[in-house]
């Protein structure tokens, strides 16, 4: 690729517990609350909430996926700052646990009582589905 100066993005993914990623990347795709969007260098300053979903970034020929739960992102022309409640790299996801969690959530949902328990299970289901989807993806 013919890269010139200023065509890289600094990607930072931060959770309350730690800094997950801090790297120079070429492209980032994020699950915005209004839909998925991509960020390339030179993007206008932009701030949006994120929903439960998968994000990925490209660095040269390599790309990596992450599972995010609620968060928001601040985009500047050369910087993407993701603040998420949890962020797990695809390679670090324990697929067994994710599937167990999905089954447990589905069980509560099929029992079908509309209370807070139900809502929690829905969120949990979403999260676990995302995890299972991207686990092991490269």
């Amino acid at each position: 690729m013919a890269e010139t100066a200023g065509t890289k993005l600094t990607l930072e993914v931060v959770t309350p517990e730690k800094v997950v990623i801090s790297e120079e990347v070429d492209e980032v795709v994020l699950p915005g609350i209004e839909g998925e969007f991509g960020v390339l260098p030179g993007h206008i300053p932009f701030l949006t909430a994120l929903k439960v979903g998968a994000m990925y970034y490209k660095k040269g020929e390599e790309s990596e996926y992450l599972a995010l739960s609620w968060g928001y992102v601040e985009v500047a022309s050369d910087r993407v700052m993701v603040l998420a409640e949890t962020a797990e790299k695809a390679t670090e996801i324990d697929i067994k646990r994710a599937e167990d969690s999905r089954e447990a959530a589905e069980k509560i949902l099929t029992a079908g009582k509309e209370d807070t328990e139900y809502e929690k299970a829905q969120v949990r289901l979403e999260k676990s589905i995302i995890r299972v989807q991207i686990a092991g993806k490269k």
Binding site: P16, P45, T86
Partner: protein, 285 residues
């Protein structure tokens, strides 16, 4: 004169105690280090959040959100953060005293309590207070979901107007040997201090400023609670380390004294026996 065997036994028992206090000190020291790391690790997120919030506060009407509106204070909720375990010096009694004092300072407010840690529960069990919630066994391993559980509960009850204010009473971590007891207002959220230099960048907000603010504020509370829990845990370990250090030192001094006493008694006994033998021999002559 005390019996030699008794003294020996006491020395042994003090030695055992010393070993335990030493071990506890080491454990506290290593936990303290971990707790400090956790505080440092949570800082970038919290700072960034504050930055975004204050830039939002500039752009939106701060009265727009119920968490920002000050109501006439009649009922107040207090989140009291103590520890689950004792042997940490004045850590718990300081907090509990502060909580009592704060209640005494505001006699016309009606207080309810959210107790964190076994020590607070034990203390308030025997007193006339309205305990609304209890959170136990979360301090050994503070994680964000714990903080969210507390934060969400407080925010929900606040929005339902169960109370008009929320305070947190906790130990702020200054250093391993210094902790400050703090009463902090959690809700309503105090207006942000706005400094202009942050906001050179004009952001595009999606879906809208108000929506982002609405999403952000409850999270902000959760992060605050998370920070408080982390600080409190670090303080607890710091306090325990100091207390156990003092205890080990005292035990050492006590052993020295007892050993001195033991040797003196032993010497006295020998002298006495010698005198008896000598005077016995004299008598036979």
């Amino acid at each position: 004169m005390s019996n030699l065997r008794d003294i020996r036994r006491r020395i042994q028992s003090v030695k055992n105690t010393e070993q335990i206090t030493k071990a506890m000190k080491m454990v506290a020291a290593s936990r303290l280090r971990r707790a400090q790391e956790a505080i440092l690790a949570s800082r970038p997120y919290a700072l960034k959040m504050l930055e975004v919030l204050s830039s939002l506060a500039l752009r939106t009407n701060p009265e727009a959100h119920p968490l920002l509106v000050t109501r006439e204070p009649k009922k107040a909720d207090m989140v009291v953060v103590t520890s689950d375990r004792g042997l940490c010096g004045a850590f718990n009694s300081n907090i509990l005293r502060k909580a009592e004092q704060f209640m005494a300072e505001h006699p016309d407010w009606e207080f309810s309590m959210h107790l964190v840690g076994r020590k607070a529960v034990e203390y308030f069990k025997r007193r006339e207070v309205n305990t609304r919630k209890i959170s136990l066994d979360i301090l050994a391993d503070v994680s964000l979901p714990h903080a969210m559980a507390i934060g969400n509960d407080v925010v929900e009850s606040y929005l339902e107007e169960e109370f008009d204010q929320v305070f947190m009473v906790y130990n702020e971590f200054k250093s391993a040997i210094q902790q400050n007891v703090i009463v902090e207002q959690l809700l309503p959220i105090k207006p942000m201090e706005v400094t202009e230099d942050h906001f050179a960048v004009e952001y595009l907000y999606e879906p809208s400023e108000d929506m982002v603010l609405e999403e952000l504020l409850p999270r902000h509370i959760n992060i605050q609670v998370f920070r408080v829990l982390l600080e409190s845990v670090a303080s607890e370990h710091g306090a325990r380390m100091t207390a156990m250090d003092a205890a080990s030192k005292n035990a050492g001094e006590m052993i020295d004294q007892l050993t001195l006493l033991y040797n003196r008694s032993r010497q006295a006994a020998i002298t006495k026996e010698l005198v008896e033998v000598v005077s016995g021999a004299e008598a036979i002559k």
